[in-house]
Symmetry: C2
Subunit: 187 residues, 2 copies
């Protein structure tokens, strides 16, 4: 089996206050630990960049928020795929690239857990990849859930959004594991 | 705009006890109300059937669980798409069919909220369809979330699974509305 690391939308645009408060402040550092290990092992790496087509979006090209976080900035020669929707498999060459290099398994991390990470993991699993979700290398923001569709529902904290999103995925679409556990398994 | 109704996996296989307890006991009746309204208005209807490839699955062909619930059984001539993964857009002709009949908007309902409904809605939105989620014509089961990936997390009730799944979708991938509200909007 060949296992690729897929880093989703770890960009400076997520520093913007519009997203509200977040959980897992160490998510980017954990993603960087995974990235260093993948580089060291010579395994495939895919960087996913969100380029919003919504005017004024913090993740759009006119705001600078499409830059990768320095902690996980790609090196020359590493694969980068740009998307404008949540799924990294829609409108990109990601699936064809993974098939072309013989990848069967994925470790996925990034931002945000319930939106782009969850959607990409669901499609990855449904396309036949075995997926590990590095849950502590992901984070959610309070803007990632909206309980306004029903009366009398409380708002959700960032941690509650993250935990419920991971729990919906675990066992059905992915095996959710901690970064340290994934790294130990590589040793 | 042309708005299609997409009914996901409303099958007898979900009567099996393996799924645990559920919420929204009236979901199938609400789906039937939407179906009757769509038939009356002559709008496009797509029935999605899950045909599991896992031996012994309650949604597999060897257990009888691939039969549609009588409340929403297709009429002759209505479109049926069969899938074996969560997303109704993977391995099926659903997208091509919707494009061919000029559909731009979807109302989606069915089973289960956090798995096949959520995954199909995410892909629909990312493929460019405007999506309404008929939240009370969907249901979740306690088997649809697994908190075993972290220590000390409580299990989730079926209603909590449903509510959090809808809240992750609302405003990002879909507009979550009650069946009665959708039907009033058609009048």
């Amino acid at each position: 089996m060949t296992e690729a690391l897929v880093l989703i939308d770890i960009q400076t645009g997520f520093d913007h206050p519009v997203w509200g408060t977040r959980n897992n402040p160490g998510a980017e550092e954990n993603a960087a630990r995974l990235l260093a290990a993948w580089r060291g092992a010579g395994r495939p790496i895919c960087h996913i960049r969100h380029v919003s087509v919504e005017p004024g979006s913090p993740l759009g090209p006119d705001t600078g928020g499409t830059e990768f976080n320095d902690l996980v900035a790609p090196l020359d020669g590493e694969a980068i795929f740009e998307k404008s929707v949540n799924s990294a498999f829609i409108g990109t060459g990601l699936e064809a690239h993974l098939r072309s290099v013989g990848v069967t398994d994925l470790v996925i991390c990034g931002l945000t857990t319930p939106h782009c990470v969850s959607t990409t993991i669901r499609m990855a699993a449904n396309l036949g990849f075995r997926v590990t979700l590095a849950h502590d290398a992901c984070a959610a923001f309070t803007a990632n859930a909206d309980t306004g569709w029903a009366d009398d529902l409380p708002t959700m904290s960032a941690d509650a959004i993250h935990v419920t999103a991971v729990s919906h995925l675990h066992g059905e679409f992915a095996d959710a594991r901690a970064t340290a556990d994934i790294l130990t398994g590589m040793a």
